[in-house]
Structures are given as structure tokens and as C-alpha cells.
């Protein structure tokens, strides 16, 4: 039985192993490769997407668990907040290798959706699940504050 859900506003259905993590369905079946694989055990945040508006680690959620849900990936970002986050990221030259950044941005957008003026502590709490091996952390923090002032 195909599992159906909404992906970036479009209804999709995939007939795959119901255990398959959402991450691999998004990447290999839907062909949206912006969402990355970093650990597979909800430790690094590279695979962060929004499920019904909340940030979630798609590597550790079986596709069967999102039947009927609304899934948003980096490719589907279009809100004012999301565009502000991306603009701040670019303005402050946050990225290095860039591999973690889809996940960082998805977590940052979720944070700002909930908390439009986050404190440093709010940022620590919301972002400490996202590893950046290039250690772009200070710029991520600065970009979140910068985006908060521009929204």
C-alpha cells in the first residue's frame, strides 16, 4: 500500500518499505536532495524537515509515521521568515562546506516561527541538535539574530 502525505504542498505517495526513514523517501523517491544524511540516529540534525510545522529528524521517522502529514523540506521554504533566514545566512557568509546548512536553516526557521525574538539561550536550545563540523556556529547565531530583526 502506497503511503501518502503532503510534501512541500503537493500530495505524494510512495510504495516503499514502511520502515524506510522519511529521509530516504524524500531523497531517493521524491528526488529532493537538499535534505542531508549525517548520522541516521537523530544526533546531528542534517536531515531536519518540518512535519506539521514542527522540526523533526527525518532520518529517524519511518515513512509510515507521516501518512497524511504535511512535510516541508528546504526546497519548499517560501515564508517571509524563511526568506529572511536565507538572506541573513547569505549576508553573513555563514556557509563553509554547506552540508549541514539545510538542516540548520530548517531548525532556525522553526525557532523563529515559534519565537520571533530568540535569546542566545533560545538559540542554544533550538540549535544544539544541529552539528556543524565546519563550526559555523557563531555565524549561525548571528544570522538568526539578524533575521529576527528583519522580520
Amino acid at each position: 500500500m502506497p503511503i501518502s502525505f503532503e510534501l512541500n504542498g503537493q500530495t505524494v505517495a510512495f510504495d516503499v518499505d514502511p520502515d524506510m526513514p522519511l529521509l530516504w523517501a524524500i531523497r531517493e523517491k521524491a528526488g529532493l536532495t537538499g535534505t542531508k544524511f549525517g548520522c541516521g540516529i537523530a544526533q546531528c540534525g542534517a536531515c531536519t524537515v518540518h512535519i506539521d510545522g514542527a522540526p523533526a529528524r527525518s532520518c529517524s521517522i519511518p515513512i509510515s509515521a507521516v501518512a497524511g502529514a504535511k512535510v516541508l523540506t528546504i526546497e519548499g521554504l517560501s515564508s517571509k521568515t524563511a526568506l529572511a533566514v536565507q538572506a541573513s545566512w547569505q549576508k553573513l557568509n555563514v556557509v563553509q562546506c554547506g552540508y549541514c546548512q539545510s538542516g540548520q536553516i530548517m531548525s532556525a526557521v522553526a525557532l523563529l516561527n515559534d519565537t520571533p525574538k530568540p535569546t542566545d539561550d533560545d538559540i542554544d536550545t533550538a540549535m544544539s541538535g544541529n552539528i556543524c563540523r565546519c563550526a559555523t556556529y557563531n555565524r549561525i547565531r548571528e544570522a538568526i539574530h539578524d533575521a529576527a530583526t528583519s522580520i
Binding site: D17, T33, N93, V95, D124, I131, Y137
Partner: protein, 730 residues
């Protein structure tokens, strides 16, 4: 969904696989390329059929007014796809907005690293070995555009000016963009000699320009190896042995083969590979293969056994790496001596993008998509597996999600694995191999484990008069083409120690290379300096304390022959307020290190809370890296180096029990997170010297700077790493 073309990133060549022929005209680097146009290019270029200006192997000017720099180095975050185009843009007088970057194909003749003699990225050499080359490439392209304009407008070339991508002749009021002139310029002969700018006229070099990969890396469009899609592609996962050096004795794939989507289970040189129609299925099936390993030749020692062996060796004389005066004699008569022993664990690189490669083998040809860091080596190794000539292997270098040295290895391990798997598949079947994070953490090629034994002698005035330093650990160059003659010292094991910057009249630096250890090792961001800078700089503070001297003053007094070290120390001390008051339970530590011809000093401010938890609050960094191409990229590399080094020093360790790695993922191999990142300030030493590396030199000083602050705070030196082993961190 269709894979889109993104003409502005290095990914383009990868996705579209243009065939490219380089025709060498004469002996010089005057190159004509022929491109099989990609979909995107056909759309852009077809109607007018205007030609690109292929000025040389590095610069292409298109009629759409973009200037593409062919980057011979791997972009792995360090910013080469921004830094190298800056050099070209400067000499061309291009506008920054028209610049693009594209990864070069594997071609050692055209694209060798002049520091290595082969195509590859490492040792923080990208800017240094490209600077003159790309200045010439840019100036040549500019001259061809100017000459084309002169011919077209019938005016003397000498009267033509170029500014921000526009070529003008004031008297005749002619002007044209690079794009408008590209077609005509393509007919020009490249001049044999070009005049380079006087650096005082630079308008781009030395200024902050936005990274060229900013947009694609914030909207999910940047393509990494993990994202490559080829028609008919299959996926692979590999079961590696639980102990290093073990091999497959037998395996039972009956359960694995029953999983829907599994295509094949094949033994390869490094284990057993499973091929399936999705990565998830390949991995699930990989975990279901029952394997009996032959462990007769496997390394079965654990960290405690290795550490004990290293410590015992450290007490015996080693091979001399540097000697001056008579340290033994002077030590015996010193007024005061200080001695200590340091322990360094194995470290994994853990780049954010796990190791991965896509390989497609056809009769007499092979294509590879990978974050290839040693293209020449990878090409040769792939060719060897397939019985091809290196030139029959086409490598599409992809953006890499970090490397830190891991992707640069002489075995081309993950690329060879993908090739071996591809060889078992029907011709033309592309296969994407993905290592899991567990494969990466357990997979070896670590920063080696080391023991350092140190002793210093002070005279009755507190002057350092004798210094002995013994290093025990595996050699990185051993078994590679860079291995020295038998009996020679591996320079990578002693760099930063054998060339101690401090003037000590009597010094012995010795090495014990523990090459019987069966744990695979590799260079790790800043190589030898990851441990030598720590040992020398932490020990220097211990000696300064014994001498009753301020750590900064103690260093400065011994740096007579090292003006750059002195200067960065002065700068960092001034900016950090060295010697000024701090809040209670807070202290500063200072350290300096030279790596890859750059010199970096750092001051760390560390505090301790009521429970004894240590926190690094602020790091001030001063760097002398010669002329700076883009200050913001240098700043980012210092920030990144500090964060990467700090995570390792505070909590990084790979340990073995009976030869089995005890960590498997980011839960056990803990890395730095955002709440642990200190505030960082980066200051530059003004310099007109040739540019030197910045990718690695930010790493070495952070460990000792933090440890020295802890020493100032607690009175106890940190001699066993990671710090978290003895001291709680927050």
C-alpha cells in the same frame, strides 16, 4: 523530480558530464577546450552560436557575461571556490557578480598542485600554489579581451581601460562587456607574456566579497556526491570487519537476499557489499548478512595495551629528529627540571557528509563522482582496479561536505570500494556507495594516538637551557609515495617539535615510530601540529611557571629568531588584554604555533563554575598568513579551525577495546555543538608577503591556549586528552 542544472556551482560538470578535450598547443599552458554543451548551455548559447572565450585552462568567458574559473582544488568548505575566482577577477578587472566557479576534471598536466606535483588539495596550499598561476590566467584573459576590442574598434590596445567587467576606449566612446567580446576574443592568440598588476592597485584582493556558493548552499540546491542521480543508479552499503586487518572468511547472504529490492551481495577487498534499489534497503540487507571474519592478522590490542606500550617506549631513547648542544649533560646540572608525559587519543575526522562515491564502469571507461581530494591518486587507483589507463577514468570532483584530511588518502579507500562494486555490476550501471556514520567512526584512518615525553632544565636565573622531547606514535607517510628512505624520520610526526621556535641552546627531539600498530591512520586537519603544538605549548607554560615567569614574557624572550611568532603574540596579547583583571574563577591561556607557513596565536578565556565545570568563553586569535585574499574567508577558517580543534581537545577520542572501536556515531564520538562555541575575535597581521595557508593553521593553538588557561585556573596541567577525561566541561 528532474534534477535541475545549476550552472553556477561546481556541480554542473558532475550532473551533466561534459566531455572535455584538452589540446596542448606547444609546451606551455595554452589550452583549448572543447565542450560538449550541457542542456543548460545549449539553451543559453544555441541561438547566436557565439563562442566562449576559453582563455586558458582556468578561465572561460561566456557570451552571457559570466566568467567561470576552473578550480583545480576541492571545495570542502575552506572557500577555494571563492578565493581562487577572486585572484582571477582581480587581474581581469572583472565585476564580482559575474564570477562563477567550476571544479576542474582530473588532469595532472593541467591541474597539478605545484606544491605536490600531482592534482590534489591539502596542506593548506590552495591559495599559495594558485596565486601566481591564476593571476597570469586572469591577466591573459583580460589581454585577449582587450586585444579583441582594439581590433574591433580599430584603436590602440594601450588606450583601452577595463573596469568591473567593462572594456572601454574613452576617446572613441566605445565600450563593451566581457560577454559581448567573448566571441571575438576567442579568435585572439593568448599573449606570450602578460603584465601583472602592482598589488597596491588591487581592488578585490584583500576585500570582503560574498562567497560564490552562498545561495546554493542555503536553498538546498548545492549538489554533493550524496545528491548525484544517474539513470539506472543502484545503491550500496558495505559490511566492514569489526577489527582492523580482518578479512572475510565466509558469509551467508540468504536472509539479506530475501529483502525486497536487494540486487546482489558481493565480497570486495574490504568486506562484503550489498547492492539494492535504495540505500535504506542496501543498509538493512547489509546488517542482515552473516559474516565470519578471519581475524588471524587483525590488530587485537586495545587502547590501554597500546598506551602502556607507548609509555614504555617513551622512556627509552628514540631516533633523533633534531639535536643541538648537549641536552643530557646540561639537564643533569640544571638548577631546576620539569618533566611530564602527554597522552593523545586517536581522533576521527567525521566530516559532515559521510564518505560516498558514485562510479559507473563501461567498456574501457569509467566515470567517478566524488569529493575527490587527490584526483591523480584516485584516478590511478580506480584505473588499477579496472585494468584501465588513468586517462580512461573521468573524475567529476564534487563539492565535499567537509573532509579535514579524510578524503585525501593514498588508498582512495571509499572510491576504490565503489569501483570494485561497480565492476561486479552489468556494464554502465552506476552505483552510489554511502558509508553510514558508524562506518565512518569505526572505519579507521584516524589521527594517530601519541605519547609525548618531555623534560626541561632551567638555570639558576630561570632561563631555559635544556629541552628533551620524545614522541611515540605511528608514521603517516609510511607506505605512501611520500615515505622517506629507510631509517629516515617521518617529518609529519615531528613537525612543530623538531622546529621548536624557542631558542634553547641544548635540545634533543626524538621519535619512536610504532609502525607495528594495525590501526589505519591518516592526517587530520593540521597534521603533526595537532599534537606537537599542544605538547610544546602546554609544557612551555609549565616551564614558565617553574621559572616564575609570565607565560607571554617567557615566550617573547626566547623568540629572537622568529619575528612573525613575536608579532602575532604581541597582537593577540594586546587585543585580549593580556595581564588585565578578569572576573573570579576565570583565567587566560596563550599559545602560538606555525603551521603551513602561517603563524597563529590565540588567547583563550576559560571559566570554572561552582561545580568545577570548565567553559571556554572567548578566544582571541591573531594570524599572519601573508597577503589576504578575502579577509572574511580567513576569519571563517580561523573560527572553524578553533571550533574543530576545541571539540577534539575537549571531548574527542576514539578508543579500542581488544581491537574493536568503542564509538560508533555522534552519541559516543562527541563533537562541538553551538552551545559550546566560544566568542571568537580574529585579528590580522598586516602583511605583503606571499599568501600562505589558512584551512588548517587555526587548529593547533586552541588546545594549548585552553589547557594553559585551565592550568592558570587550577594549577594542574592537562596532560591527558581529551580534557573531559579529567575535568567536567559545559
Amino acid at each position: 523530480m528532474n534534477k535541475q542544472m545549476f550552472p553556477f556551482t561546481a556541480s554542473e560538470t558532475a550532473v551533466s558530464a561534459p566531455s572535455r578535450r584538452a589540446l596542448l598547443k606547444g609546451a606551455g599552458l595554452i589550452i583549448a577546450f572543447s565542450f560538449a554543451p550541457t542542456g543548460a548551455r545549449v539553451l543559453a548559447a544555441a541561438p547566436a552560436a557565439k563562442k566562449n572565450l576559453e582563455a586558458n585552462a582556468f578561465v572561460r568567458v561566456a557570451p552571457d557575461n559570466t566568467v567561470t574559473v576552473i578550480v583545480k582544488h576541492l571545495e570542502m568548505g575552506q572557500g577555494v571556490n571563492t578565493g581562487l575566482p577572486t585572484i582571477v577577477a582581480e587581474e581581469m578587472d572583472a565585476d564580482w557578480s559575474q564570477m562563477r566557479a567550476e571544479s576542474a576534471p582530473a588532469n595532472v598536466e593541467l591541474y597539478k598542485n605545484t606544491a605536490f606535483g600531482m592534482q590534489g588539495t591539502g596542506g593548506s596550499t590552495a591559495i599559495a600554489n594558485s596565486y601566481e598561476q591564476l593571476r597570469k590566467a586572469g591577466a591573459t584573459a583580460r589581454a585577449m579581451l582587450v586585444n579583441a576590442a582594439a581590433k574591433e574598434w580599430k584603436v590602440p590596445a594601450g588606450e583601452i581601460t577595463v573596469k568591473q567587467g567593462v572594456v572601454s576606449h574613452a576617446a572613441s566612446k566605445h565600450s563593451a562587456t566581457f560577454g559581448e567580446l567573448a566571441d571575438k576574443a576567442a579568435a585572439q592568440m593568448p599573449p606570450a607574456d602578460v603584465k601583472l598588476k602592482d598589488p597596491k592597485d588591487f581592488t578585490l584582493i584583500g576585500t570582503v566579497q560574498p562567497r560564490l556558493d552562498n545561495v546554493d548552499k542555503t536553498n538546498g540546491k548545492a549538489i554533493f556526491t550524496l545528491d548525484i542521480v544517474r539513470p539506472g543508479m543502484v545503491y550500496a552499503s558495505i559490511a566492514h570487519p569489526p577489527r582492523f586487518g580482518a578479512t572475510v572468511k565466509s558469509f551467508d547472504a540468504s536472509v539479506a537476499m530475501k529483502l525486497k529490492g536487494v540486487i546482489s551481495v558481493v565480497p570486495i577487498s574490504s568486506g562484503v557489499a550489498v547492492v539494492a534499489d535504495s540505500f535504506w534497503t542496501a543498509k538493512k540487507a547489509r546488517d542482515a548478512v552473516q559474516i565470519t571474519w578471519d581475524e588471524s592478522k587483525a590488530e587485537k590490542r586495545g587502547t590501554p595495551e597500546l598506551m602502556a606500550a607507548y609509555k614504555a617506549l617513551g622512556k627509552t631513547p628514540g631516533q633523533s629528529a633534531h639535536k643541538a648542544g648537549d641536552a643530557t649533560k646540561i639537564m643533569a646540572t640544571a638548577a631546576k627540571t620539569v618533566a611530564t608525559e602527554f597522552e593523545f587519543p586517536f581522533l576521527a575526522h567525521a566530516p559532515m557528509e559521510p564518505l560516498d562515491a558514485v562510479v559507473e564502469v563501461r567498456d574501457g571507461a569509467c566515470e567517478v563522482w566524488a569529493g575527490s581530494q587527490f584526483q591523480t591518486v584516485d584516478q590511478g587507483n580506480v584505473a588499477k582496479v579496472l585494468g584501465l589507463k588513468p586517462e580512461q577514468v573521468l573524475i567529476h570532483t564534487q563539492l565535499a561536505g567537509g573532509s579535514f584530511g579524510r578524503r585525501a588518502n593514498f588508498a582512495s579507500d571509499f572510491i576504490v570500494e565503489a569501483t570494485e562494486i561497480a565492476k561486479t555490476l552489468p556494464a554502465g550501471t552506476p552505483v552510489k556507495l554511502i558509508w553510514t556514520r558508524e562506518d565512518d567512526i569505526k572505519g579507521g584512518k584516524y589521527r594517530p594516538m601519541y605519547v609525548h615525553n618531555m623534560k626541561a632544565g632551567l638555570d639558576d636565573k630561570g632561563n631555559l637551557v635544556a629541552w628533551t622531547h620524545r614522541i611515540v606514535g605511528q608514521s603517516i607517510f609510511k607506505g605512501t609515495p611520500f615515505q622517506g628512505p629507510p631509517g629516515s624520520i617521518d617529518p609529519l610526526s615531528v613537525e612543530g617539535a623538531a622546529n621548536l621556535p624557542y631558542a634553547v641552546p641544548n635540545i634533543d627531539v626524538e621519535l619512536h615510530a610504532t609502525d607495528d600498530v594495525g590501526v589505519p591512520i591518516l592526517w587530520w586537519r593540521s597534521v603533526g601540529s595537532t599534537h606537537t603544538a599542544y605538547a610544546t605549548e602546554v609544557f612551555t607554560d609549565m616551564v614558565a611557571k617553574a621559572a616564575g615567569k609570565d607565560p607571554l614574557a617567557f615566550r617573547q624572550a626566547m623568540l629572537g629568531g622568529h619575528a612573525r611568532h613575536k608579532a602575532v603574540l604581541d597582537l593577540v596579547a594586546e587585543k585580549a588584554g593580556w595581564g588585565t583583571a578578569l572576573p573570579a574563577n576565570t583565567a587566560r591561556g596563550i599559545a602560538v604555533a606555525e603551521a603551513f607557513s602561517s603563524v597563529v596565536a590565540q588567547v583563550a578565556e576559560v571559566s570554572r563554575d561552582a561545580k568545577g565545570n570548565i567553559k571556554v568563553n572567548r578566544v582571541v586569535c591573531a594570524v599572519d598568513c601573508g597577503m589576504i585574499i578575502n579577509p572574511d574567508v580567513v576569519r571563517a577558517q580561523m573560527e572553524g579551525g578553533i571550533g574543530y580543534g576545541l571539540g577534539a581537545i575537549m571531548k574527542g577520542a576514539i578508543t579500542l577495546k581488544d581491537g574493536r572501536v568503542e564509538q560508533s556515531n555522534f552519541d559516543g564520538y562527541d563533537v562541538l555543538r553551538i552551545d559550546e562555541m566560544p566568542k571568537i575575535e580574529v585579528h590580522f597581521l598586516p602583511s605583503t608577503g606571499a599568501p600562505t595557508g589558512v584551512g588548517e593553521p587555526g587548529v593547533p593553538p586552541i588546545g594549548p591556549a585552553v589547557a594553559n588557561a585551565i592550568f592558570a585556573l587550577t594549577g594542574k596541567p592537562v596532560t591527558v586528552l581529551p580534557i573531559s577525561k579529567a575535568i567536567p566541561t559545559v
